[in-house]
């Protein structure tokens, strides 16, 4: 099982660079990284998938990440029940005669056609990596023109969560320390 980390980080310039630089210089491999806003203003959320599998090594990665000053919280959710999702846009060669066949495959994967042109269409699919890879294999014979994939997003299942993001709201608001 590949290591999946969820990190809450301060939304400040250069934080993504700090995380990426850490992985490079410590010789940890990033399989995928997705970053965006969290539910708390001023706090960004990263989902990072690494190729580490063994527990002690995973701890070293987690602690290194946590050591960055701008990283507020790191959860290793590898062994927890987690929803993991990626999204892909796949542009497939498709003339009028092939269109129905491709739409049929998309249906099976609960993917959507989001653009149709005379010689191509774009399929949008969301799911875990296996699902996306599997559909990609079926689309290959038609001719894939281009693929764009996000990194994985992860969220643990259920309402029990070890952290309380609301408690970081005061930092997001500057904690009254900064003058602006």
């Amino acid at each position: 099982m590949k290591q999946t980390l969820i990190a809450l980080v301060e939304d400040k310039p250069g934080v993504l660079n700090r995380v990426a630089s850490l992985f490079r210089r410590r010789n940890f491999n990033i399989e995928s990284l997705a970053v965006g806003h969290s539910e708390t203003p001023g706090i960004s959320r990263m989902t990072i998938v690494t190729d580490e599998e063994e527990l002690l090594r995973r701890n070293v990665v987690r602690e290194n990440l946590f050591r960055l000053i701008n990283v507020i919280e790191v959860d290793d959710v590898t062994d927890q029940p987690t929803v993991v999702r990626e999204t892909a846009l796949i542009k497939v060669r498709a003339n009028a005669t092939k269109r129905a066949e491709i739409m049929n495959i998309a249906d099976i994967y609960r993917a959507r056609i989001v653009d149709v042109a005379t010689e191509s269409l774009i399929v949008e699919i969301t799911g875990d990596a296996d699902k996306i890879n599997s559909m990609t294999d079926l689309l290959k014979p038609f001719g894939i023109i281009e693929t764009a994939r996000t990194g994985a997003l992860a969220m643990t299942r259920g309402t029990v969560t070890p952290r309380d993001p609301a408690s970081y709201a005061k930092y997001a608001a500057g904690n009254g320390k900064r003058s602006h």
Binding site: G14, S21, N59, V60, N64, I69, E73, K177, S179, H180
Partner: protein, 565 residues
């Protein structure tokens, strides 16, 4: 309404609030406003080093002697990039320094302006944290935060890059009195009750325990607690290079330094041990040798303030992320007195074997580097001086033959192994050390030539330091490897030196030369008596080796020993 101040004034005001008395640096176009503001604050003494690398090493030396944050300043571009080696040195050795660099104006950033470099980008991997301050209203809090981060937890270098327009901009200056509260930084880690119980059970059950004491015992102020545990449980101690001084060298339980050029008895004890107690050290490759065969039969307890060091190089049985002093206070009451006579006797036998091989005992009329260093120790020991050593053979010989009895008396670049560190670091250490405590530099002929320009800084500051150059005409440590592993092909390791006595004279430094061992005492006395910097060149045997030696990648007990006399 609070007083309006410029960014430059705010920088200096904040330094004074942090208790800074001395700043090491170099002015330039992008930090002119800060230097101009400094002229209005006589409380802060500025030391003009001759290179920005020297400024960072000086701040580092100051920090290591005092435990306070050292401060270095430089201008943008080349000024800042010259600091990188010094910052990396401080990072590897967990030394708290704050570097303040000027930057081109915010409007010019990214446009390849004159003397522009992405300094926060360049220094990101070698700082504990860094800042680019783009709004003068953030400046005071950022400086306070920087000092806090530098000195707390595992200390380290922090850099603040300040664009010139931010230095000139004005805002109301209200010093932030509230304590720093950062969402992602919680340096006060504690051990759990279960961890302490597990560790204690291992300690009390051990027959052949060894304490590995690193720089952390000094940084945490836990030297007393470590010694208390050792004495209570009759547990022998070995230190890393940076742990030297934390445990008195003359203490019967102190086996001396471990590792590549460590004491043979200490390395043998580690390999034979049934329990390793690793305190504030990080299992560097220079102390472990080959990891696969490292201390194969021992349980291992590792205590470090930096959680990312635990299980990084060596897998341990109990990993405790905590401040060493705090956690040892929890432990010590429950460490049981134990009879470990058999273990201590075995170690004594190994030590006896080593002392017979000691090069100090050789009496063949050849003047050796080890003897020069040994004689400096004998001459200065009653003063417990600060010794700043550089990098190479002389550094290892110093670690072996200079017996440090007090904490913070050995300042050296351990982790990064930065040649050229000693002279500028000694200038910084001189500002930090009490007036009556002497500062001696032990440096090789290669290392001194890397930063010899700082001699003039020492003269300008009338810095009372004594520089002992151990001149063997080679980059000795590299030559030693060539001698052992490259069939004596001495590629670019013979190195010429200037006439150091004449050079000293040109700089206005007292210069002396010693070519025979019997002349050392007179030279050392002259250096000690001289008010201001002195330089002694010891011309020593060229081909001496540092023994024992664990070849890189070999098992820790596979040492190349000193030949028996």
């Amino acid at each position: 309404m609070a007083e309006m101040k410029t960014g430059a004034q705010i920088v200096i005001e904040c330094l004074i609030k942090e208790g800074v008395e001395v700043v090491f640096g170099y002015p330039g176009g992008a930090n002119l406003p800060i230097y101009d503001a400094m002229t209005f604050y006589p409380k802060i003494h500025h030391v003009l080093t001759r290179h920005e690398q020297g400024a960072t090493h000086a701040a580092d030396g100051y920090a290591r002697v005092t435990g306070q944050v050292g401060v270095a300043m430089a201008t943008s571009g080349p000024g800042a990039t010259n600091m990188v080696t010094g910052i990396a040195t401080a990072k590897m050795d967990s030394s708290p320094i704050v570097c303040i660099t000027g930057q081109v104006g915010t409007g010019a950033i990214g446009g390849d302006a004159f003397q522009e470099t992405d300094v926060t980008g360049v220094t990101l991997p070698v700082t504990k944290h860094n800042y680019l301050v783009t709004d003068v209203r953030d400046l005071a809090y950022t400086i306070k935060e920087a000092f806090y981060i530098a000195r707390t937890g595992r200390p380290g270098p922090v850099l603040i890059d300040i664009p010139k327009d931010v230095q000139n901009a004005k805002c109301e200056f209200v010093y932030p009195e509230d304590p720093i509260d950062l969402p992602g930084y919680h340096p006060a880690a504690r051990a759990t009750v279960a961890q302490v119980a597990r560790a204690l059970a291992l300690i009390n059950a051990a027959k052949k325990p060894v304490i590995l004491a690193g720089h952390g015992i000094l940084l945490s102020g836990a030297t007393g607690q470590v010694l208390e545990m050792a004495e209570k449980g009759s547990i022998p101690i070995t230190t890393t290079l940076l742990g030297i001084g934390g445990i008195p060298a003359g203490h019967p339980l102190n086996m001396g330094m471990m590792g590549m050029h460590g004491e043979a008895a200490a390395n043998q004890a580690i390999q034979e041990a049934d329990l390793l107690l690793a305190f504030g050290m990080r299992f560097d490759d220079r102390v472990t040798g080959k990891l696969a065969t490292y201390s194969p039969n021992s349980k291992k307890i590792h205590i470090d303030i930096d959680a990312s060091e635990l299980n990084k190089n060596v897998r341990v049985d109990v990993a405790i992320n905590a401040d060493l002093q705090v956690v040892l206070e929890q432990f010590n009451g429950d460490v049981e007195a134990a009879d470990r006579t058999a273990w201590l006797n075995a170690i004594r036998d190994w030590q006896e074997d080593s002392s017979q091989r000691d090069i100090i005992n050789s009496n063949d009329g050849i003047f050796r580097a080890a003897q020069a260093i040994f004689d400096v120790w004998k001459f200065t020991k009653d003063n417990n001086p600060v010794v700043v050593s550089d990098v190479g053979q002389h550094q290892m010989l110093e670690a072996q033959y200079f017996k440090h009895e007090k904490p913070h008396t050995l300042i050296t670049s351990g982790g990064l192994g930065t040649m050229g560190f000693s002279l500028p670091a000694a200038i910084g250490a001189r500002f930090g050390a009490p007036k009556g405590q002497e500062v001696w530099v032990i440096v090789g002929d290669g290392s001194i030539q890397m930063t010899i320009t700082e001699l003039m800084t020492a003269v300008q500051e009338n810095s009372n330091i004594n520089i002992c150059i151990i001149n063997n005409g080679y980059l000795g440590m590299v030559r030693q490897w060539q001698q052992l592993f490259y069939d004596e092909r001495y590629a670019e390791t013979p190195i010429l030196s200037p006439d150091y006595v004449k050079l000293a004279e040109a700089y206005g430094v007292q210069g002396l030369r010693v070519t025979k061992r019997e002349d050392t005492l007179a030279a050392l006395s002259a250096a000690k008596a001289h008010n201001g910097p002195s330089l002694i060149e010891f011309v020593v045997e060229q081909h001496d080796m540092v023994y024992p030696m664990v070849p890189a990648g070999a098992d820790l007990h596979q040492m190349i020993r000193r030949p028996t006399a």
